[in-house]
Point group: C2
Chain length 366, copies 2
Amino acid sequence: MININSLFGKLLLTIGITGSMSACSVNPHQSSAISIVQQGNFAAGGKVIQSAGQFDDKQLFKPQGQTLHGDHASVFYQIPEHARPYPLVSLYGAGQSAKTWGTTPDGCEGFQTLFLRQHFPVYVVDQPRRGQAGQSTLAIEVPATTNDQAWFNMFRLGQYPNFFKGVQFSQDSTALNQYFRQMTPNTGVYDEQVISDAMVEILKKSGDAVLITHSQGGGPGWWTAIKSNQVKGIVAYEPGSGFVFPENELPEPMPSATGTLSATPVKMADFQKLTKIPIIVYYGDNIPTEKNAYAGQQNAGQDNWRVRLKMTQLWVDKINQHGGQAQLVHLPDIGIYGNIHFPFSDLNNQQIAELLSQWLHKNKLD
Amino acid sequence: MININSLFGKLLLTIGITGSMSACSVNPHQSSAISIVQQGNFAAGGKVIQSAGQFDDKQLFKPQGQTLHGDHASVFYQIPEHARPYPLVSLYGAGQSAKTWGTTPDGCEGFQTLFLRQHFPVYVVDQPRRGQAGQSTLAIEVPATTNDQAWFNMFRLGQYPNFFKGVQFSQDSTALNQYFRQMTPNTGVYDEQVISDAMVEILKKSGDAVLITHSQGGGPGWWTAIKSNQVKGIVAYEPGSGFVFPENELPEPMPSATGTLSATPVKMADFQKLTKIPIIVYYGDNIPTEKNAYAGQQNAGQDNWRVRLKMTQLWVDKINQHGGQAQLVHLPDIGIYGNIHFPFSDLNNQQIAELLSQWLHKNKLD
């Protein structure tokens, strides 16, 4: 059956919004409109600070005696019809906002909408001190530092200005423009504990959920599961920092071209909480390994991920050694090539979503 | 007919998300789930700066030779089934993000969802250098200044800590907490021209549209209609700055307890563009007028709006004198009392939405 509204949507997607960009793959779940039962936003967690003195309502903007609400997360959620039991709560990486889970750089549907179509409630988070949750209890300087090329290399699109051969990223300049404009700065000091505290409060509102984390979001993701028993599973795309290990079982620090990666010590009782839930970690392509030689200084952006992939292998082994159910999927090892640091918004993101759907199903999380 | 999903949605709204807060009014349009044909995000407008020198891929984060994409807007849009012809493109006020149009402080549906239910495509904007569009080409200090009480008074909830009698704002502490946490800082210098430039680019993607502006968003809203012929109407809630007048027909500056309000001079040809489209401006309650006496220094937050209401009356008269179709609605004058600075998210926001629906209909914008 041909659904007129779906066709209309496709036309809009191709002509109205994405302009000259390539058409998106047909989504097998995109046979009709999405039925949303409820959607909205809320703030979660955070704290309140107060300046000494007395509020003077004749001098409104003197800070004395006034309070400031900050350090909360801001969440947009959508609950579809026939909702599955566990929402997907997603937390992005460095320099990103909840937009990361929306439209892909080449104008196709991101995980937020792809999983809504599969009837998962979705909660996309702006973490404390970022994006729409910008109000921080600590001041910060936001520099306007030029660094697009650094991220191009670091996020493994290629070696600027050249894309990697076969990379899963559109080489239409519109896509790169959109991609660079996803970046948004911290508006306060980055703090895994502040973020995970707010995530715990989000879960109280969403109910038991599966966390999807990306890159820098990996660390706060582990901490959320340590602090809350409402995390029923974690899917981590390319965790970049905050690798928690039992304090007496730390791996050796790992030097790389972007600095030395060290594990974060935690109490064994905390680490063991991560052994109680299913966890899967995905890494994309163009990461040097022992097999394909040290990329080194000349490919610093890639070398950054060599140690993170290696650290994750040790971490997964450690979780499983303590009775857990963690799995590392290095995508090229299962025949999926060309993914950058953002597999969930790459050209093949429907294939990546399908892997996740299968994992959720296998672990009875759907 | 009773729709089970709608009932489920109501239950979630009451129990799952809003916790102990009061139930929301029944929405006559809320008889079923919302069918979304398409939704997503995009960046619009902005510029690219570049540091002098040569990019060195062995020292990734040295700024030399690198670019930075900044000063764009970031937009989340939703297109419902059976979409009406003109999208509503909304731009918030000082210290706010696109969240302003989402869930109200007391946990009910905001304009974003209310108008989706009425089959309007909605585009909620984070303006350049705010929220998810945080990447700026100019550095800034983000202070963590305590100022909740200032906003409480300025936004006319009352005289802190007392609410105005009959105010359209929940006195449940949860609502005030959510409200304060909507605030998010500028991440670059506020600039009406940068913002309206990006708005023009949004309209190229949305197609011809009706602008809904709030407070500080008023000024960039007028500029958008001056720069683009795609604005088919403007609805301004409590414009707070950027009152554009023909350069030779400026009103006298207006002193108030929060400073002197001056008009912004523009060329007559630019001003005349605003006479070609229907415009409506709404102000809420508890604004002193000539009739009810000067509030003065002791109620500075209210006095701020006395001059803005007065300036708007002159502005509307000026538009109409030059052949335009502008209208000012001071809500208490039509028997609607208690609205704060955010009528669209107040307790009676469905009534406020209904007024807007009627105006859109009357002006053939629906």
